[in-house]
């Protein structure tokens, strides 16, 4: 499975949105994610990809595409 698919699946499950509603351009604002949603998403990503994401890095992640790019750069 590609990183993109895995990331989208996690975001869909965590934030309770349909996978087909997610594109790389979708921002977390678009899908009404609050700060705790982002924390939960980060926890799920850390577990799925076995990495640690710092608070600073989280700040630069605003869209689905940002997440995919970030994960791809780390694994």
């Amino acid at each position: 499975m590609s990183v993109e698919t895995r990331v989208k699946d996690i975001i869909a499950a965590q934030l309770e949105v349909a996978v087909d509603k997610l594109s790389k351009e979708t921002t977390f604002e678009d899908i009404d994610a609050d700060s705790l949603d982002i924390v939960e998403l980060v926890m799920a990503l850390e577990e799925e990809f076995d990495l640690e994401i710092s608070d600073q890095e989280i700040e630069n992640i605003n869209s689905v595409g940002d997440v995919i790019k970030y994960i791809e750069s780390k694994i």
């Binding site: 609050d34 705790l36 924390v39 939960e40 926890m43």
Partner: protein, 247 residues
Amino acid sequence: MDLTGKTALVTGASRGIGRATALTLASAGASVVVNYNSNENAAEEVKKQIENHGSSALVVRADVADYSQCEHLVKSAIDHFKRIDILVNNAGITRDNLLARMKEEEWQAVIDTNLNGVYNCCRAVLRPLLKQKSGGRIINVASVAGIHGNSGQANYSAAKGGVIAFSRSLAKELGSRNITVNAVAPGFIETEMTGVLSDEMKEQVLSRIALGRLGKPEEVADVILFLASSADYVTGQVIAVDGSLSM
């Protein structure tokens, strides 16, 4: 107040209020993780009593002042019971002294256990709690000293006041996930902690308690049970269990 199928973690559960809480939650049907730091025999005794009543218990040693031990405590709970629903932060110590005589170690030890311990356990339990997506209950044992202060207990009062403010903040953070966070503020309860007080001191305290007696650990445990089970719409509150002492 049925807690069948729920798992509760009670810190400092080998004696006093923690012990009464572990037994009370278990008799409501909860599986209970009995945490202790120094008194293993007493903790095993609590486990035995819980099992005699038909509930399950797991004894885990951890010093709540140490984050890694709290992580291990929570992990042991999840490994054994597969879930966690209720956290009761009860573990606490006293190092009473007038401030003019209070050594830094006395200050630090009380802050480390009574305040940092609450942070450590809440932090460790949060990930599994959020992951379960089925809400949760956090109950922190504060003290009337944390509301009104107490001479000779600047360290203890500061820690307990901190626990109250912490509980309110966390209630706001986690409300959207149906995790409630409340504090109980016991007054003078018949435990080893108050057993060391002089008769003169006890007389003085009794004169300020409308109910005219010290409280029992079970009476605090009953309020904790209420917050852990049926109090669905109560969060960010501090409930004094003190016979009127704090009025």
